[in-house]
């Protein structure tokens, strides 16, 4: 078996455990796995930000301006240089299966967060973007979790503004439209949590239409 990320042959270590059972198919080598930094327990309890003790500055600000919009964000990995390369190859080059290399840890983090039985809502892409990439990264993550997406949102204008600064983004128009109100707790799924604006835009529409609690699950933070 070859590593999905660096294509090097993965050496199987034979232990008594693997000696009796057929070894499971590894999709990532130890070198690459070491580069992926799992976010620790510490950090911001709201957004999983690593370098913060207690609720982080950003989250405090959000609470002040938009209280209770997002209950909590759970992320799996620190968005470091290695992760950035991985995301670039996966999302922009369109190597769909690349994210499956870390499937195991993503599924584990998702289940530990207790999101398994809740509706999962993907962040929609514009038609143009989706055509360019051939897939929607949020839906790919939901697929990886072995769940079906609930298409509650559509995009009303394009992603171009993601280049703007944080303040601009918070005040910019909501790029989404809600097409299916849901009146139970939901989890928004996306690949990266940067400023938290995207998920909060989506969350505001959902809560306005009667959704009691909105959580988010993002792979990278």
């Amino acid at each position: 078996m070859r590593c999905y990320v660096c294509h090097q042959e993965i050496m199987l270590v034979v232990t008594w455990d693997t000696f009796w059972r057929p070894p499971k198919k590894e999709k990532i080598c130890n070198d690459c796995l070491d580069e992926m930094k799992v976010l620790g327990e510490a950090g911001c309890p709201v957004c999983s930000r690593e370098d913060s003790t207690g609720v982080c500055f950003d989250c405090k600000r959000w609470t002040k301006s938009h209280p209770d919009l997002l209950k909590r964000n759970t992320s799996v990995y620190h968005y470091n240089g290695f992760a950035k390369d991985l995301v670039a190859r996966w999302k922009y080059r369109g190597d769909y299966v690349l994210i499956q290399s870390v499937e195991e840890q993503i599924v584990k983090a998702f289940d530990e967060a207790g999101y398994r039985n809740w509706p999962l809502i993907p962040i929609p892409l514009s038609d143009e973007r989706e055509k360019e990439r051939g897939f929607n990264q949020s839906e790919a993550i939901i697929e990886l979790l072995n769940k079906s997406p609930v298409q509650a949102l559509v995009r009303s204008h394009s992603e171009k503004q993601s280049k703007k600064g944080r303040l601009e983004r918070i005040h910019s128009q909501n790029p989404f439209t809600l097409v299916e109100p849901i009146c139970k707790p939901v989890v928004l799924v996306d690949d990266i949590y940067t400023t938290g604006t995207t998920v909060r835009h989506a969350a505001s529409l959902l809560t306005e239409q009667g959704c009691p609690e909105v959580y988010s699950f993002t792979v990278f933070r």
Binding site: R2, H7, R93, Y96, V97, E130, K131, G134, F135
Partner: protein, 473 residues
Amino acid sequence: MLKDFYNYFVPRFDWIPSSKPSHSHSHPELAGKLLQRNELHVPEEQLKYLIPQSVLTEVDAIERFVWGYQCRRCGNRKHDLFAKMPHANCGKECVYCRHCIQLGRVMDCEPLYYGSSSFQWLEYSRPCQWEGELSHHQEKAAAEITKTVHHGKGELLVWAVCGAGKTEMLYPGLTLALEKGKRVCLATPRVDVVRELYPRFQKAFPDVKIQALYGDSDEKRGDAPFLVATTHQLYRYAHAFDVIIIDEVDAFPYHNDPTLHFASKRAAKPDASIIYLTATPRKKFKRRIKSGNLPSVFIPRRFHGHPLPVPTLKMMYNLPSYSKRKLLPPAILNTIRRQQSTNRQLLLFFPSIKKAEETARTLYTRGYQVKSVHSEDPDRERKILQFRNKDYRILVTTTILERGVTFSSVDVFVIDAGHEVFDEAALVQIAGRAGRSPEDPDGEVIFFHSGKTNALLDAVDHIRDMNRLADRS
């Protein structure tokens, strides 16, 4: 089924539409190209009439065999380098190639576009302005090359020692090709070789449209009759060239990447002349020469007539223990100091980037004018140029500079020459950096090691053999 089996092992290119003279067109940028839709830069309306005219033809991108797939762009057949994805554009589960995905994702539901090679290239009259003279040996090789170009369909291996003057040997053959309106590509695995050869060809053929193509070259169009390119660029060509020259055919990554062999075969027209250049042929080529199914010409003598510098092996028991402490043994430092008191510059080879950089820092703090260059160095091109201009005295590097690059007057030291990255070919090439100029045809080559390897001994034997054969011829 049997046909399938055969096709799986012998790549065939009958899926490439034949380019009939009746399809001749006025789009040099499309001639012999195999591209994805977004690489075409052709608006939809234009595509609508280029296809019926057979200027462009849609071909399936991924071929399905009983037991797997083959990517028609890169030739990849490895099971684990294909993947499936739910494809939003067509709503189906589609197969894509992971091997060449850096160039853009090739999918089985999206065609590749082949541009007919029926484009009439300019027939240059007297294109070569080079005024130098070929040595007796160079002339012999040049005659064989010209014969191969003239004859069309066929192969030739030019086995010429480092410093034999391979580039000049090509001039008569290139001249003939360009006079006949043939399209030529010189491809090499090494980007530094492209950068080195391109200006030389420009100077020798000043009126010919020549383009250099590599990963981050400014030039991207590939619409010239003469291309100098890295072998990776050939992933975008099919039945494009009448003459294809693979320089440094034994070099990494070409020699061990079957997809590059696939691409270069495909880039050649069915009746093309294929010329391989090497100073250190691999076993496969030597076997083909021996069995008589690969015509070859052998040039054991350098163009200036002097023998190849024979490396001295120096055993350094303490090399590993100093290396662990990120130091060099005093004996090596002394040798460097002595060398630096001469007029020659010094090329210092290390088995790894890390060791090269460490040593460059050490030597710098000791007051030497030194720089290091490695494969991931964004500044590589500039540093090589500065060294060539003698702006500094010591260049510390890895096998990345083992070949292709020439400096006029250098000594060459290899530290830890017994390391596995230095195979016979690499060591012969490295030693071949010394004594390149007729003004200074010698050069000291020292292999410092902590235990002789077969590669070390074979490399020295190889160089001695070449010198012996040169004396006899």
